[in-house]
Amino acid sequence: MRLTKTQLILSGAFCASLFAAPADALSDKLVIEAGHIILHDAEDIEDGVIVVENGRIAAIGKADEVELPWDAVVVGGPDYTAAPGFVEALTSRGMDRANENLDVVPFLNVRDSIDPVNFYFEDAKRWGITTINVQQGTNTVVSGNGRIVKPTGVTVEEMTVRPNYGYMIAIDPKSGKSRATQRQALRNAFGDLRRELEDLVGTKRDEADTARREALAQGRDQDDQKSPGRAMTGSGWTVEGLELVDRSEIDEKLRPLLSMVEGRAYTFIYCGAPMDVQPAIDFARDNGLAERATLVLDDSCWKAADAIKASGMSVILDSDLMHVETDPVTEEETETFVPKVFADKGIPFALQSANSSTNSLWFQAAVCVANGMTRDQALAAVTTSPAMIIGLEKEVGKLAPGMAANVLLLSGDPLDITTKVHKAIIDGAVIYDHTQDTRNRHLLEGEAPRGATAAETEEVEEPSKTDDDADDEETGDEPAEGESGDEPGDEPGDEHQEHEEK
């Protein structure tokens, strides 16, 4: 069978998009050349190379100082800028539905909701977001279990960077609740856990006591008293004697809460107003979450920055970076650029993209620069800071030996509006190539997508310059001379209707 040229191109493009440049993925070595490499903690490198082995950065430096493996695939070139892939600190996009109806659902998992072919993930590649923390939405009390993913792969498992990672907890009321019932629901959730654990321990103690007395009465040694569980840890509160309980005996719906109280789980605590911030901090501290908790803030919450600073917690900011407050009497508007407040106070913060396209992370960082922050501060808020917040600071967010090879090859400076992502590399595999991105070319270059035919514009009929078909029922008159007198080159009137049929 002879394949036509189009079929070959189509199938090639299909493979490329599905299996993300197989040639690069098959080789375990990759050399990325760039005219400019952006580092965070050191001087940027001019004319540099990044050597990737087994998905990690093996070496990075000036082209003439780094030894290149002879069998590596080479990508990039002197025209490109290499930068670390952006890290989305928190999002609910890419999920089938972002919020569960029930209040306290830590036994659910976003794994069952992430849609690998969701447009968000496609857009993430296009705009250089290589690590994404997917959590349930903020309309919850205690959410399902989140997951850190990369925007590539056809199954959730392929996409996964860290499974079963983190929970969203909202201090801000879920829709239909008041702040009082929201907080009561939250207290109940953790109160129930505590009572359940105490009951379990009580039962175990009773059983052990009975067994001890029985053994005493029968005059035999008591059976070996080895605790089946382990003692509860936690900086907030603990239940004494939990080692008596085999952890598998604890209700599986409560076990995730226990992991939070023991400080083993990451939590994201959502504050919808400045008044939520102190309760959120207290809640985190009282239940032992504070160590691994991050506050997720509405843009108005900058007002509580001092309380946050005192708590030592890090924050994820709303995608709306400029907080506008209107005076109720004078209607005067006061603008506060939120990231700068946190930068000035030295509170670690990460930015969220408002949407995956025009307000992607690069844009959010650029807006920070426009509003008086330094370039380093702005770039850190979309790379190293979110990496730190999600506990992956040794994996992603910057370019250094040992880190995952999540590298963007850009056509220019990452904060320049005309810059495009030329190639995106995740774990050493090229997962995005601008030249293969038909949708983006359709958007940016107006190139018709495959299958669509270009509008027929070659043969244009000269329309008539007369207007006698306006003589419908209302105006029965014949058009007078002079109506079409202005135009040169009048055509015969019988052609005039043709343009309406086009």
Binding site: S357, D416, A470
Partner: protein
């Protein structure tokens, strides 16, 4: 203090007794005058609300205001800040005589936001709910809260609409015959019919006094080329229809507003000689105008065709969608900085017929300036100050 003296020397070439004193001096690392000139290191002097001098030398001297860049005040021909439901007369689809400017609420907060985003001049017309909505005016976005004080050109264009918006919300007479709101058109076809009938009636009115109707003079002025016909046409078929209408009635000047799909049939557009105002760039390409698709290189392609292009933000003042960002997005689509600048200053000024007053930084023109923290339209820059008629009306902290 040194520079004003120097500048007063410069402007003393003008008759000394009539020249007003220099009131404000601003220097910048770059002065983009939008007429093709870029002054790297330049100073603008303002006197009597007008630009008095533009000279090289950007240090400004002690006490002078110094910024990274200066551009002319931006101009948006389609800000779409209307007074809501009542900005369109519903008695008829064709209301050529209505002047929209009188119904504007100058106390609306959006004018102030627009001004702070760098837009100093806008063209305001009736909403595109009528087939022919009335006359537009060109006004400044700041200054006294009186429409007369802000107007620089009254009734500068006749406003019309093709496509879905003018037909929306109408219902045909056979549905509910008793209702006042039953009226045409209800389709694109009906909209076009109403346009052609209006122009046909105007031709009749022009030769026969008996057949004159309310507002016919405004229609006639468009046929005679005294003012442009400024029409919304977003989708390919609407742009085509508008171009055919222009050719059929020999309208000398037509501006297509929201013409998202203007590059689909370039030959027709070029032959008709219409100018274009583009709608705001949309993340996925689908614009608010009839959901028409606009690739981001549209402005670039149109310039290559030789079609005059102005950009619009449809009144948005937000950081990611204001007029400055629209220029930036057009640059992402391939425009050079000077082309993008022209598309938000000089070109719209020319299309609205006010280029003698605004649109460039030239001696004698209105002192409307935007002061930038960095390169204009870059995502890393912002508007840090706005000068309107020689007064500093906004300065960021």
């Amino acid at each position: 203090m040194l520079l004003p003296i120097l500048l007063s020397f410069l402007i003393s070439e003008a008759p000394a007794e009539t020249a007003p004193p220099v009131k404000l001096v601003i220097s910048a690392d770059a002065v983009y005058s939008a007429d093709g000139n870029l002054l790297e290191g330049g100073t603008v002097a303002i006197a009597g609300g007008k630009i008095a001098a533009v000279v090289p030398g950007g240090d400004g001297g002690e006490g002078a205001l110094h910024v990274a860049a200066i551009t002319p005040g931006l101009i948006d021909l389609s800000p779409r800040i209307h007074t809501g439901d009542y900005s369109v007369e519903e008695a008829s689809e064709v209301r050529p005589g209505d002047l929209a400017a009188g119904s504007l609420d100058l106390f609306d907060k959006r004018w102030e936001r627009l001004l702070e985003s760098g837009v100093t001049t806008v063209m305001v017309g009736p909403a595109y709910e009528n087939v022919i909505g009335g006359l537009s005016s060109v006004i400044k976005t700041g200054g006294k809260k009186r429409i007369e004080a802000r107007t620089i050109a009254e009734g500068n264009a006749l406003i019309g609409a093709f496509g879905g918006q003018a037909a929306r919300g109408n219902s045909p007479v056979f549905g509910r015959p008793t209702t006042f709101f039953a009226r045409r058109p209800t389709t694109r076809m009906g909209t076009e019919w109403a346009h052609r009938k209006a122009f046909y009636d105007t031709l009749a009115a022009m030769r026969d006094e008996e057949r004159q109707f309310e507002g016919w003079e405004a229609m006639a002025s468009v046929i005679e080329g005294e003012r442009p016909f400024f029409v919304q046409a977003g989708a390919t078929q609407d742009i085509r229809t508008a171009c055919y209408l222009k050719e059929e009635f020999g309208l000398p000047s037509m501006v297509l507003d929201g013409a998202a799909e203007a590059t689909r049939e370039p030959e027709i557009l070029k032959r008709a000689g219409a100018a274009v105002v583009l709608p705001p760039h949309a993340a996925q390409g689908r614009t608010a105008v009839d959901n028409a698709f606009m690739p981001w290189n549209t402005a670039d392609e149109l310039l290559e065709l030789g079609v005059p292009v102005a950009l619009s933000a449809h009144g948005s003042a937000s950081a990611n969608a204001n007029l400055g960002m629209q220029a930036g997005y057009a640059m992402r689509g391939g425009l050079e900085l000077d082309e993008a600048l022209r598309a938000v200053t000089l070109t719209p000024a020319e299309l609205a017929g006010v280029a003698d007053r605004v649109g460039t930084i030239e001696v004698g023109k209105d002192a409307d300036l935007v002061l930038w923290s960095g390169t204009p339209f870059a995502a890393t820059s912002r508007v840090i100050g706005v000068v309107l008629d020689g007064e500093v009306v906004f300065s960021a902290k």
